[in-house]
Amino acid sequence: MSLRKTFARATRVAGIAAAVSLFALAGCTSTAGGASSSQPLKKEDLVFVCSVINTTNPYFAANIEGCQSLGKKLGIPVEVVDSNGSSQTEISKIQAILAGGKKAVVFVNTVASSDAPTIVNAVKAAGGFVTIWWNKPDNLDPAEVGNNFVAFQKHSGIDSGKCTTEALSKAIGEKGGIIALPGVQDSTTSATRVAGLKEALATEFPNVELLDVRPSNWDPQLAYKNAKDLIAKYGDQIKGVWTADDGMQIGAMQAFSEAGLLDKVKFVSDGLYPPTIESMKKHEGNDAIVGETFHRGYMASAIGLYTAYLAAIGEIDPSTLPHEKRDSMFKISCVTPDNLDEFLKWDNDVDGWVDQLIEKGPWDTEPVPLVAGGPEVIKPEYK
């Protein structure tokens, strides 16, 4: 038989095999979801899946750290999914792990809100348990999907925006112009933080003027370019800079530094990334950074994974949990140069914090206890 014919036959066989697998999977979809959630799973049958948007952003790297620490404590292997910023990569890698045989307990920091339904359905079909962090469509309710979608969890974006805006406004004497550099324009996380900014200005600081809002896509370089353009446009009218995350703050600070304005302008942002901590510690630019928020990637992933784990082994029954434990918002703390030291202790002992999480449960561990239920609603006037 010629090589070409052999190849053609192999292709046909592979095609038939794929079709059979799809039928089998479709069959699973209709039955396995219900069956799997009623029977507690054995610890030795589990694998932790830790899906992040990329592995180099400090926040996502911390997500992985939290998953690995919890996996080590509980003796469960951890599979990391690096989505490389692509929804397609994220979904296909998760599906490949689900097909691997073990029951998956999944934490996903979704690339886009729209990925959540596909991931949830795939995990449910494979009899696993999933907690989604940060992004999901508002109409995807864990309680409606069933026990396999254990919870959706996040920190309040509105609280973050208010927190940083208060620090910035006070630092500039509650009057003057500020500029804002949000993340990707259609990101819920960014939109809620901007809503917090606008609400704080409208209700508490009417003399602080929001000169311009330029979405910078979570990209330090775009933030740098936008900040350069806004410096050219407004010059010394800019007294403060609000960015939706610390990555963009790095770009903005570089632009103001090049313009010789770093020690005349104040900055606030969300995330308290390591470079931000360093900058605050060494009082860069006459204490240029005046406000941050504290929440951690390793805390988010460990809380998410631990919640899903408790459901998988039958310690909690998601269907009996109150709404706020299925659609949850965890505490976010406001950080200023004065109280910075209080928050640095956590990063030095991630394993110790995970011990506390296991002892106190996913909803009662400081400094990030459960504070409210979702979804987080943006008032129309602050959109």
């Binding site: 990329n54 592995t55 180099t56 952003n57 400090p58 790297a61 992985i64 324009q185 311009d212 809002v213 330029r214 979405p215 990209d219 330090p220 370089q221 775009l222 740098y224 370019k225 936008n226 350069k228 353009d229 806004l230 410096i231 050219a232 446009k233 010059g235 990555g247 790095i250 770009g251 570089q254 530094s257 090049e258 990334y273 390591p274 470079p275 360093e278």
Partner: protein, 349 residues
């Protein structure tokens, strides 16, 4: 063109004076068509500058000029390499991957917040060499294995990105600790940012090489008709590999400069540059089919795009409309600039 070269057949008497007069007209038309597009592009740029200046007086200030030129510099440097590659009828999509690999290598070999040793001059040489190696790999695979450049360089994009990701690891974001490095790019010398002087020097060198050297003329000849170039004994493969090496080196340089500009880097440092630069090359009038165009046109194309984005921000256009408006203005500007040339445009279907 074809008619003038065709050999007269039979007893046809040829009026040489008529021929030479027709030739002269054609030469004049060729010269006009050669400068027509850049002049029209320059016209579009002037109109944009006039409109933006009217909308916001701060647009036409020295500070903003320095800002625009600072922002345009990296796309110009990458654009020089991209233009050379496009002139030979190929394409280089590996820009962002090469930038990432070089940028991360540079920061890790310089004094940075992650610690480690400052390698001095090697912190520049090694990342540039990395760009050259990746560029050479592009050229060699493309010419020896006859794989389309589109595919090879797409693969090399991800290889470069992969190298950057491995080098970067999962430690904290590394920032340069040497302020001379972080402030160099935007530092003003003789009224303009350092990085722009570097970009301008590269454009001038590339323009002179294209105009006055055998290498430059060969690039145009290969892009025009590779078979004829080869039949004339031109070392086509060598020229192509050299072109990709130059493009790789320039992407590597851009990775280093972007890192210096940001004061640090991650493996995402190159993001967005490819799809800023390629349109600028085409807008400048370099044909994607090869053989026609030049780096001065690319320079104009980059400046046009940068002015457009900067002007829209200064004019206070809402971010919701900026993308659509920027696209619409661009289409109008290009149609206006290319109007006189529309009959001779080499449209790639």
């Amino acid at each position: 063109m074809t008619n003038t070269l065709a050999k007269p057949t039979g007893n046809v008497s040829v009026d040489t004076s008529e021929l030479s007069s027709a030739g002269l007209t054609r030469t004049r038309r060729n010269i006009l068509s050669g400068i027509g597009e850049p002049v029209a592009l320059l016209g579009a740029l002037v109109v944009l500058i006039a409109i933006f200046s009217a909308l916001n007086p701060r647009f036409a200030t020295i500070t903003n000029l320095q800002n625009v030129l600072n922002q345009a510099s990296l796309p110009i440097i990458i654009g020089v390499g991209a233009t050379l590659v496009i002139l030979i009828g190929s394409i280089d999509l590996s820009v962002e991957g090469v930038m990432a690999a070089s940028g991360v290598a540079f920061v890790l070999m310089s004094a940075n917040t992650r610690g480690g040793q400052d390698m001095g001059i090697w912190a520049f040489i090694v990342p540039l060499a990395l760009g050259i190696v990746l560029g050479a790999a592009n050229g060699l695979i493309y010419t020896l294995l006859k794989v389309p450049s589109f595919i090879v360089t797409l693969g090399m994009w991800f290889i470069g990105f992969g190298i950057a990701t491995i080098l970067y690891g999962t430690d904290a974001y590394p920032e340069l600790t040497n302020e001379t490095l972080t402030q160099w790019a935007a530092k003003i010398e003789l009224g303009l940012p350092n990085v722009f002087w570097l970009a301008a020097a590269l454009v001038i060198v590339a323009a002179l090489v294209l105009r006055y050297t055998r290498f430059g003329r060969a690039a145009l000849a290969i892009g025009n008709n590779e078979d004829i170039a080869r039949a004339n004994g031109m070392p086509v493969r060598k020229h192509k590999v050299t072109t990709f090496i130059i493009a790789g080196a320039l992407s590597g340089l851009a990775g280093i400069l972007a890192t210096m500009q940001m004061g640090g880097t991650s493996n995402h440092i190159g993001e967005g540059y490819l799809f800023l630069t390629l349109p600028a090359v085409v807008i400048g009038g370099t044909a994607l089919s090869g053989g026609k165009g030049g780096v001065l046109r690319t320079f104009l194309g980059v400046i046009l795009l940068t002015v457009l984005n900067n002007g829209l921000v200064l004019a206070g256009v809402s971010p919701n409309f900026q993308s659509a408006l920027s696209g619409a203005i661009l289409v109008v500007a290009i149609v206006a600039a290319a109007w006189s040339q529309r009959g001779r445009l080499r449209i790639a279907k």
